[in-house]
């Protein structure tokens, strides 16, 4: 065992001083490398942090101004000369619903012929001292077209406004907003400007006088998307669509995920099958989201004939996508609960099921909640699978039920970023992103808060 004493010693490392000298000689360059390595690491952290900062500053600086939009407060006189329609029909006692409906539609069609622009123009003209009759056709470029539909809707809902003057705040056209906020180069030659010189002058003049004001825009939140009246395009439809989908995710993915996790962690025998399930779930969590979109397109839409673009299909697809996340989070929470608690309950004569549902599950609730909320947040931000189930199509209304055509917040962002009126929609898209990020952030904050509040320590 111990031939060492009989062995000759090596030449280089015999004497302490020789080692010391050699080590000292290498020290300087080694220390330099040490420092360089450490600085490289620090630089990477700083770069990563800087990237987060750049991303957020970029989005916020672009998006925040879009929460304010230029609008005009006008005294609209519902001139009976212009709004010249008969009385709104009322259903007669002996009239069938279908007959009444036909009459109502005739009336609405007639209302559709009314020149509501003229009402708006009449309200604006007094504000423009140098106005000439020949310039009338330019007036429509000031106010976004959606507002005349809003006026028509007012009359349709309550015909008694005819003959009255109402003070209304109307959104200016998107191009006016762009011009006044300086989102287009003001020095561009005329032919590259979106607006004729005359309208630009009017806008400047009205803005200077305070007739056009930059106000916090509720349109962004209250209106559905619009293509004809860009300035009034809003997120309401997307909100409701996303809301339905999240409801479906919450009521499908979370209970199922928790149940699956309970089974796998607490009941399932450890064998090949559960091993396959385990690998399968881990893999499913890493499958690209677009694959779930393909699944949705093939199974829910093509086989089951569920409607395209409907939140119910989106919700199902997102539920399948969120399921593995919930399972994994729940399992790791269950695993962290000390076995002593199970043994204690089992020892008192509780059945396996009672042990799990009375003793283990209550302790796991904070972890399950946190994991589920994070899963929902992830689902909220998902875009790709929704495109494949038809949510890319433009929907100009707020969905009434989960079976109606709808869009979702991230898809709305996708649709807006592609709009031709870049100068307007870059900011509006950023604003929509801020809204989405804020929603996700609040979900995350909720998760962190719950974890702090409910945390159990052993």
């Amino acid at each position: 065992m111990t031939e060492s004493s009989s062995n000759s010693t090596p030449s280089a490392a015999t004497q302490g001083w020789s080692v010391q000298d050699k080590v000292s000689a290498s020290l300087r360059s080694r220390k330099r490398k040490e420092k360089a390595f450490k600085n490289l690491g620090l630089a990477s952290v700083l770069v990563s942090l800087a990237l987060v900062a750049i991303l957020f500053i970029n989005i916020f600086s672009k998006g925040i101004p879009a929460f304010w939009q230029t609008s005009m407060e006008l005294d609209i006189y519902f001139d009976p000369q212009i709004v010249n329609v008969p009385e709104k029909p009322v259903q007669q006692a002996d009239e069938s619903f279908y007959d009444f409906d036909n009459r109502l539609q005739e009336w609405e069609t007639e209302l559709g012929f009314v020149n509501f622009n003229a009402l708006i123009n009449n309200a604006i003209i007094p504000l423009l001292p140098d106005f000439e009759r020949s310039q009338t056709r330019f007036l429509t470029q000031l106010i976004t077209s959606g507002e005349r539909h809003a006026l028509r809707q007012m009359v349709m809902d309550d015909p008694s406004v005819i003959g009255q003057t109402k003070t209304l705040r109307l959104l200016t056209a998107a191009n006016i907003d762009v011009w006044l906020k300086g989102n287009i180069d003001r020095d561009l030659p005329d032919e590259q400007q979106q607006l004729p010189a005359l309208v630009r002058d009017w806008a400047d003049q009205l803005y200077a006088e305070g007739a056009i004001q930059n106000r916090f825009s509720t349109a962004l939140f209250m209106n559905p998307d619009s293509r004809s009246s860009l300035a009034s395009a809003g997120l309401a439809g997307a909100f409701v669509g996303s809301f339905y989908m999240m409801l479906i995710v919450i009521f499908l993915a979370i209970p199922m995920g928790v149940a699956a996790a309970i089974y796998l962690e607490e009941f399932a025998p450890k064998n090949k099958i559960t091993d396959v399930i385990e690998v399968n779930i881990n893999n499913l969590a890493a499958v690209p989201s677009i694959i779930f979109g393909l699944l949705g397109a093939a199974v829910f839409i093509n086989w089951f004939n569920l409607p395209m673009s409907a939140p119910v299909v989106g919700g199902l697809v997102l539920s399948l996508m969120t399921l593995p996340t919930v399972i994994i989070a729940t399992r790791s929470t269950l695993r962290a609960i000390p076995p002593s608690i199970r043994s204690a309950a089992l020892g008192l004569g509780a059945s396996r099921t009672q042990t799990v549902f009375h003793h283990v599950l209550p302790l796991a609730i904070p972890g399950i909640l946190t994991g589920s909320i994070l899963g929902v947040a992830q689902a909220l931000g998902e875009t790709a699978p929704l495109l494949l189930i038809g949510m890319k199509s433009f929907v100009a209304s707020v969905p009434q039920t989960p079976f109606d055509q709808s869009t979702a917040l991230p898809v709305q962002i996708y649709l807006w970023q592609g709009n031709e009126l870049r100068n307007f929609f870059e900011a509006r898209t950023s604003a929509a992103i801020i809204v989405l990020l804020m929603l996700m952030l609040s979900l995350n904050a909720l998760a962190i808060w719950l974890r702090r509040k409910l945390e159990v320590r052993w």
């Binding site: 065992m1 060492s4 062995n7 000759s8 280089a12 490392a13 302490g16 080692v19 000689a25 080694r30």
Partner: protein, 259 residues
């Protein structure tokens, strides 16, 4: 080689060493000399500060956040905690073997070559081969592994792994080797081999060994230091300490009243 007797040469001199972990004091003013080419063992109940003190000797405590050392520890007359002293150099001179065998996940050869390569002790491959062979021989492992130098070090048995770690330490030719309970994870046979090895290594190196096994201290060491609750209670030649302890606390401990 001089025997540690009347006026032995001293390698390490510790004076009034105190160690704090945050606000807790782990070591309370210890004075201790380590003599050249002796085996000095530290014994004492767990938590008495023996490992902490050992780790002061090559500044391994630096790697623990919130650990603070005061007093002076001199190696060959130079304070090792002086700002000008580099812990890299110090650790090359004061090697360490740990409680659990910790071979790197590399080949046996690379485990041994790691230190010499790091410190630039060799320029050419044959020299390195020499160091590897002689270190393994010294650690009594050469015959067992010479045919599989490029097999992973983690594939060896526990006792072999610990000898590999010892070989790895002596490959940089330190002056002092610190051993922190080197046999606590090993079976009695492997322990016996390591103890024999320690006995042989004494010829070349100064060895400080922490052990919670009093028989081991009695078997391997020239002198033994007894630690209790952060105090150095007594340090005497091993025979004396075990047969005729000066201090009541030492006596209680070695007779098994507490531990």
């Amino acid at each position: 080689m001089t025997q540690a007797q009347a006026n032995p040469a001293t390698t390490v001199t510790a004076r009034n060493v105190e160690v704090f972990y945050g606000d807790t004091q782990a070591i309370k003013g210890i004075d201790l000399d380590v003599h050249t080419n002796e085996v000095l063992s530290f014994i004492g109940p767990s938590g008495c500060g023996k490992s902490t003190f050992l780790r002061c000797l090559n500044r391994m405590n630096d790697t623990i956040a919130g650990c603070r050392v005061t007093g002076s520890i001199e190696l060959d007359g130079k304070d090792i905690y002086h700002p000008s002293v580099d812990e890299v150099l110090l650790r090359a001179r004061v090697g360490m073997v740990f409680q659990k065998p910790n071979p790197f996940p590399k080949s046996i050869y690379d485990n041994i070559a790691y230190g010499p390569k790091l410190h630039g002790l060799v320029e050419r491959k044959p020299e390195l081969d020499d160091i590897v062979e002689s270190s393994l021989r010294r650690a009594g492992l050469w015959e067992e592994v010479k045919d599989r130098l490029h097999a992973p070090g983690t594939g060896l048995s526990g006792g072999q792994q610990q000898r590999l770690c010892i070989a790895r330490t002596i490959a940089v030719s330190p002056e002092v080797i610190l051993m922190d309970e080197p046999c606590s994870a090993l079976d009695p046979i492997a322990t016996g081999i390591i103890e024999e090895l320690i006995h042989d290594l004494k010829e070349k190196f100064t060895i400080v060994i922490v052990t919670h096994n009093m028989q081991q201290a009695a078997r391997v060491s020239d002198r033994t230091a007894f630690f209790h609750l952060g105090d150095l209670v007594e340090v005497s030649p091993t025979d004396e300490l075990f047969t005729n302890p000066k201090n009541k606390r030492t006596e209680d401990y070695i007779t098994g009243r507490y531990g």
